[in-house]
């Protein structure tokens, strides 16, 4: 009897421990960001920010060029996602709906491209961009981020296009639509969830990208937020409150998107299962 109670109990206990292991770093980031400095450097850690303050956020946001870098990050990320969606959706349509020579090869090629070792290519990219006289510009970043997220976008959208029943498209064409119109009026609206989740994934990748911007954009007003954050602690000594506020500011958009995305992704999965 006792044993079966234990048998039911231990998975839950382990789950609680794991939950703490997963969440504590995230919690500690926010907790530190809101604590007054006295509590941060207290001899014994203050576990809950009882008298919360926004002072550290103010410090982080008053750093030179902060808003420029927010602008840079947003510009680069949003444009890259937008371009890769536009390019990706047409290719996805071709790969999902048409039969042509080399189709399999293209798919494998994009799968390979998805695993491209961008971290290792920074030297070559640096030389190319330098020779094009485009260092410290947002254009190369946007373009490279676009290609970075393109394979994932394209391959995922291919799945979503394939899940749209062919009959819908055909009946639209029987009703006198061209293939283009059928695509625009029938498939595209049905792709909305797919476009949503792939673009969120793309957004996260581009927003977090670090090695390329580290190499290409060294001038303060050309940087994006990841580089800003990684050098923040060095620049501010041991001001952990401000550093954690900076990390929070950087992480919050992604955490919010991810919660949203998780629901979408699960919904997409079950949709696929029903149709498959």
């Amino acid at each position: 009897m006792k044993r079966s109670l234990m048998g039911r109990l231990w998975p839950n206990l382990v789950a609680v421990v794991l939950f703490i292991f997963c969440v504590f770093p995230v919690y500690w980031m926010f907790a530190t960001a809101f604590k007054p400095t006295v509590d941060i450097i207290a001899e014994d850690p203050v576990w809950f920010p009882t008298d919360a303050t926004l002072e550290h956020f103010r410090t982080a946001m008053e750093v030179d060029h902060f808003w420029t870098m927010v602008g840079n990050s947003l510009t680069v990320t949003i444009l890259a996602v937008l371009f890769s969606l536009i390019i990706g959706v047409t290719s996805a349509f071709a790969l999902a709906r048409m039969r042509f020579k080399g189709r399999r090869g293209f798919i494998i090629g994009f799968m390979l491209a998805q695993m491209a070792p961008w971290e290792v290519m920074v030297i070559a990219i640096y030389i190319i961009v330098r020779d094009a006289d485009m260092l410290n510009s947002l254009i190369p970043l946007t373009l490279f981020y676009m290609v970075m997220i393109l394979p994932f976008t394209l391959l995922t959208l291919r799945g979503f296009v394939a899940a749209v029943p062919r009959e819908l498209e055909e009946s639209a064409m029987v009703d006198g639509c061209t293939r283009m119109q059928a695509f625009r009026r029938v498939i595209l609206p049905l792709l909305a969830p797919g476009l949503m989740s792939t673009s969120l994934f793309g957004f996260i990748t581009a927003w977090n990208e670090f090695p390329l911007v580290l190499v290409l954009n060294k001038e303060a007003d050309a940087k994006t937020l990841p580089v800003w954050l990684s050098s923040f602690q060095t620049a501010f000594g041991d001001d952990w409150g401000a550093t954690m506020a900076a990390a929070s500011l950087f992480a919050i958009p992604i955490l919010i998107l991810f919660v949203f995305l998780q629901r979408r992704a699960v919904a997409g999965l079950t949709d696929g299962a029903v149709k498959g």
Binding site: C22, I108, P117, Y126, R166, S230, F258, K275
Partner: protein, 329 residues
């Protein structure tokens, strides 16, 4: 970044809209002959051109650079000095390169073994938990998964900070007095420990959640049949669960190997490969040699060798994935 195995082919008959046959209605397009055959290529063209230009060309250029003597001087004066395979000779005969390669392999192995073992265990735990507890744990996993890398590594620096870091405080409290002011980033192994913990922490959710999702697809009848045959819990696990999950586990393991092997961001942001360049793994080594020390040609050679290693691993991964979705291509 998910394993590309969730897609399902359309259920309908895969009839093909061919050039001039097929149920094409009276569309306004006049000459469907030649042009229609080109349509898929035209639709693909932007993606292919962009990928070739911005991914293919840097790769080729990396190869070209690796045969050049390209240091500070040549870089500033825009000189092209070929030096054949000198860079490779120098890299391959240097002790440093082999030490870093060995370190990278060991680093990857330890990380991936831990990630896969713990991730699988957490995934199986998820399958075993009740509904409420499962959702609870999933929320935690998703939070850790979602945390941006650079933000996470900043937080880990703070957790392991020499002064006021919460880890040192806890260790001192539970009896390791000497850890009170321990500087984690002062030695090679303790720096690696922090990086390892960071990577394992951020990788477990992916493995666990996907593995849990995979277990939900195992048909219940298999377990019923196994228990009718008198198989106990352990036997059911080894005879039903494990074989069913094997392809998934293979694919995930290779994916993790690739990701950990090129874990530039984590290693670099925690301690920039220090102390004394002792925690450099191959991508960081290429970066420090190439960008930091301005030996661009040399860095390119190291990068190319790294890419070759990665390519070999990736091709193994692709073989597994392609086998899984053979029918879809």
């Amino acid at each position: 970044m998910t394993v590309q195995k969730t897609e399902r082919p359309p259920s309908g008959p895969t009839e093909v809209q061919t050039l001039d046959g097929g149920p094409r209605p009276t569309g306004p397009r006049r000459s469907p002959g030649r042009l229609a055959g080109l349509t898929p290529y035209l639709l693909l063209a932007p993606a292919i051109i962009a990928t070739l230009l911005l991914l293919g060309w840097p790769l080729v250029n990396n190869g070209i650079l690796s045969f050049q003597n390209l240091n500070m001087r040549q870089f500033i004066l825009h000189l092209t000095e070929w030096n054949g395979i000198d860079n490779y000779k120098e890299v391959l005969s240097s002790e440093d390169f082999w030490r870093v390669t060995g370190r990278s392999v060991a680093f990857t192995a330890v990380n991936v073994v831990l990630i896969m073992m713990l991730g699988t265990m957490v995934g199986l735990l998820l399958a075993r938990l009740g509904r409420k507890m499962r959702t609870f744990l999933l929320v935690g996993l998703v939070l850790a998964w979602a945390m941006p890398v650079v933000a996470a590594s900043t937080v880990y620096q703070w957790l392991f900070a020499q002064r006021f870091g919460v880890v040192n405080w806890v260790l001192a409290k539970i009896g390791f007095e000497s850890m009170a002011d321990h500087d984690w980033l002062a030695t090679q192994y303790s720096t690696f420990f922090v990086v390892l913990l960071l990577i394992v922490w951020m990788s477990i959710p992916f493995v666990a959640i996907n593995l849990y999702a995979a277990t939900t697809t195992i048909p219940k009848e298999l377990y019923e049949a196994a228990s009718l045959d008198g198989a106990g819990a352990w036997k059911q696990f080894t005879q039903v669960t494990l074989p069913y999950l094997r392809p998934f586990l293979y694919a995930t393991t290779f994916l993790e190997i690739i990701w950990v092997f090129k874990a530039f961001v984590q290693v670099f942001t925690i301690n920039e490969g220090g102390p004394d360049r002792l925690t450099e793994i191959l991508p960081v080594y290429a970066y420090i040699e190439g960008m930091g020390n301005q030996h661009f040609g040399m860095g390119a050679a190291i990068a190319l060798l790294t890419i070759l290693i990665l390519l070999a691993i990736t091709s193994f991964y692709l073989r597994i994935v392609l086998k899984q979705e053979e029918d879809e291509l």
